[in-house]
């Protein structure tokens, strides 16, 4: 297939999808008119613009040659994303020590050259440091240990 760019095609389609998503959220807002704009006026303009550019970029991807799709590095991506999600659900009920240790350990699976002993030692020091910085020095409202 000559003269195509999958990178642009997919990128453009994503913009179109975003535009559709935005329209679905603003359709019931009052538009108003130019002299007295309602809450829906400006977002409608923008969502329309995003959609138009999406169509243009996707269309250009069909016609003009360009880079193809890059493969996604799931091996690095998954541990990092899972680690953040774990942290978000753990921080309130379980506190900084559990959430912090969790994010470091889960996230470390993304490292291409992982060494567990080193990571465990470093992680322990890191968690201690964050507790000292955020809780002791800055006195932020964070729990250190799990609440039962």
């Amino acid at each position: 297939m000559r003269g195509r760019s999958a990178q642009d095609l997919v990128g453009g389609l994503a913009l179109v999808a975003l535009s559709v998503l935005a329209f679905s959220q603003i359709s019931d807002l009052d538009m108003g008119r130019a002299a007295r704009m309602g809450p829906g006026y400006f977002p409608t303009l923008l969502a329309g613009g995003v959609g138009l550019f999406g169509v243009f970029i996707a269309g250009r991807g069909l016609i003009v040659a360009g880079p193809g799709l890059d493969s996604w590095g799931w091996r690095h991506l998954l541990p990092v994303i899972v680690a953040i999600i774990f942290f978000s659900f753990a921080i309130r009920p379980l506190g900084m020590v559990v959430a912090g240790t969790g994010i470091v350990l889960i996230g470390s699976f993304a490292a291409p050259d992982l060494r567990w002993r080193e990571t465990l030692l470093f992680g322990a020091g890191l968690v201690l440091f964050t507790v000292l910085l955020f809780k002791v020095a800055l006195n932020l409202p964070l729990a250190i240990w799990p609440r039962f």
């Binding site: 990128g11 009052d30 953040i84 994010i103 996230g107 990571t119």
Partner: protein, 503 residues
């Protein structure tokens, strides 16, 4: 002129307190640290530290955050010279000749010229901020909603022109940023818009969340992918920091020219600190009697660009402090910091809060002086830091990002959004979209909408208001001119060449 000096005296009085000096030092130190470390930029760092600054007083907070930004310009050159890898995007060109000098055993003079050139440029640019700040703020006080709207529009157009990569994609990113910025309650009616019924984003998407996701997390993902990079720090001790008399003579003019280029490009929208070093390098090579030396360790190729990026970092504060318009993504972070402190960036900062304004400017000069000390005698520490492997660094960054975002609102939804925006940022990188214009537009979005609505309300819905008011018309003309220039075939080709070297 007298006014400038009495103002500066006021500023130094405010900046030279033990706490503010300490914060300035911490900022410069952290800036150097992240500048030295590749893969952690000023945007992500400021985003991580924003929650902490909430507990400081406004002047102290801004002094520290500003220090991080210009400190990163100093630190970036150390990595560029010693490892042949840019610590920051703004020091890409320094690798060309700086690393060659290091290979010839002249790492010391290269580091010294980079630091001293940066110091000179920083001092001049700080003075320019003090000189032109009040002038611009005076003009800005005559601005009505129509002028503000046109100014922001011009700023956004400028950001696309000076962004790397496709202009069409940059404009698309601006629209997406504006759209994300309009999430939350409507400014007039308070009606929730595009909140998907999630109460945690009823007041809009948190700015830090977006910045940490798009820059912090996406950057980690990208770095992990190209892990095989070798960070071979040039072995051996660095002996003899002092440049020779000949080095200084060769560098003097490039430093001067670099300062000029950087100062001008820093004020313009887009990222002056990134663009200026390219412009300076190209100019020095053109002016040189022996252009063949470039790329083989010419000291002019270090002196010019390093001065340019620091001058640009300094003068990019001018539009922020006087007009309230951030010219690039880092300045957009500063808007976030100021808003968190209850300060609305704009011309009124100078009149209503002169100690804040002048204190910050004075601190820039102090910070630049501190940076020479942090960077030159302590260079050995930074070299050792470069040996910390990324497999330990990134979990630490991850942890700091999450704690930082969580503490702003104690909201776990914000942390989840960081994961989402991290994925979005990764998608953007994979599809050739630049995230910086998006962040800038996100910050400007609510302001742009408010001024558009107010201007059209005054004009009873007649859009002619934007071209019948002279300042507004002039600004729009500049925007059209910028767009026309970038679409001209010859400029387009040249622009692609410039940004191509960046990859």
């Amino acid at each position: 002129m007298d006014q400038v000096f009495s103002n500066l005296a006021l500023g130094f009085g405010a900046a030279v307190t033990p706490i503010n000096l300490g914060l300035c030092f911490i900022g410069a130190l952290v800036g150097t640290l992240i500048g030295v470390l590749p893969g952690l930029g000023p945007i992500a760092t400021i985003a991580i530290l924003l929650p902490i600054t909430f507990y400081l007083d406004p002047l102290g907070a801004l002094i520290m955050l500003a220090g991080i930004y210009y400190g990163a310009q100093y630190g970036g050159s150390t990595t560029a010279i010693l490892v042949n890898m840019p610590g920051e995007t703004s020091s890409v060109v320094t690798t060309l000749d700086g690393h060659q000098m290091a290979r010839q055993g002249r790492a010391g003079p290269a580091l010294a010229i980079a630091a001293l050139g940066s110091f000179f440029a920083g001092s001049v640019a700080t003075f320019l901020v003090a000189l032109f700040g009040p002038l611009l703020a005076g003009i800005a006080q005559k601005f009505g909603p129509a002028e503000y709207f046109s100014l922001m529009l011009t700023g956004l157009v400028g950001a696309t022109v000076l962004a790397s990569g496709s202009v069409v994609k940059a404009v698309a990113m601006i629209l997406v940023g504006l759209l994300l910025g309009s999430v939350g309650s409507d400014i007039e009616t308070g009606e929730p818009r595009m909140t998907f019924g999630i109460p945690q984003i009823a007041e809009g998407i948190n700015f830090t969340t977006l910045a940490v996701g798009l820059f912090g997390i996406a950057e980690i993902l990208r770095n992990l992918e190209k892990h095989a990079e070798d960070r071979s720090v040039l072995g051996g001790r660095i002996i003899g920091l002092m440049p020779t008399w000949r080095d200084i003579k060769q560098s003097a003019l490039p430093v001067l020219r670099g300062t000029g280029i950087g100062s001008v490009l820093g004020i313009l929208p887009g990222n002056g600190a990134v663009l200026a070093p390219y412009a300076s390098y190209t100019l020095e090579k053109k002016l040189s009697k022996t252009p063949s030396r470039f790329g083989k360790g010419a000291i002019e190729g270090v002196a010019g660009p390093e001065s340019a990026n620091n001058a640009g970092a300094q003068t990019s504060f001018i539009p922020l402090l006087t007009l309230g318009i951030p010219p690039n993504a880092v300045m957009a972070m500063m808007v976030g910091a100021m808003t968190m402190q209850g300060i609305i960036p704009g011309p009124t900062v100078m009149t209503e809060n002169p100690t804040l304004f002048w204190g910050m400017i004075a601190s820039m000069w102090i910070g630049n002086a501190m940076l020479v000390i942090i960077n030159l005698p302590l260079v050995g520490i930074w070299v050792r830091l470069l040996r910390v492997p990324y497999r330990l660094l990134f979990p630490a960054i991850l942890l700091f990002c999450c704690i930082g975002v969580y503490t702003i609102n104690s909201s776990h939804v914000d942390v989840l959004l960081v994961a989402l925006f991290g994925l979005v940022g990764y998608f953007l990188l994979k599809h050739g979209f630049e995230p910086a214009p998006l962040l800038l537009a996100f910050v400007l979005g609510p302001l742009l909408e408010e001024n558009l609505r107010r201007a059209l309300l005054i004009a009873r819905g007649d859009p002619a208001i934007f071209i019948t008011r002279p300042i507004s018309a002039f600004l729009l003309l500049v925007a059209v001119g910028l767009l026309a220039v970038v679409l001209l075939p010859s400029v387009r080709k040249r622009r692609e060449e410039v940004f191509h070297e960046e990859d």
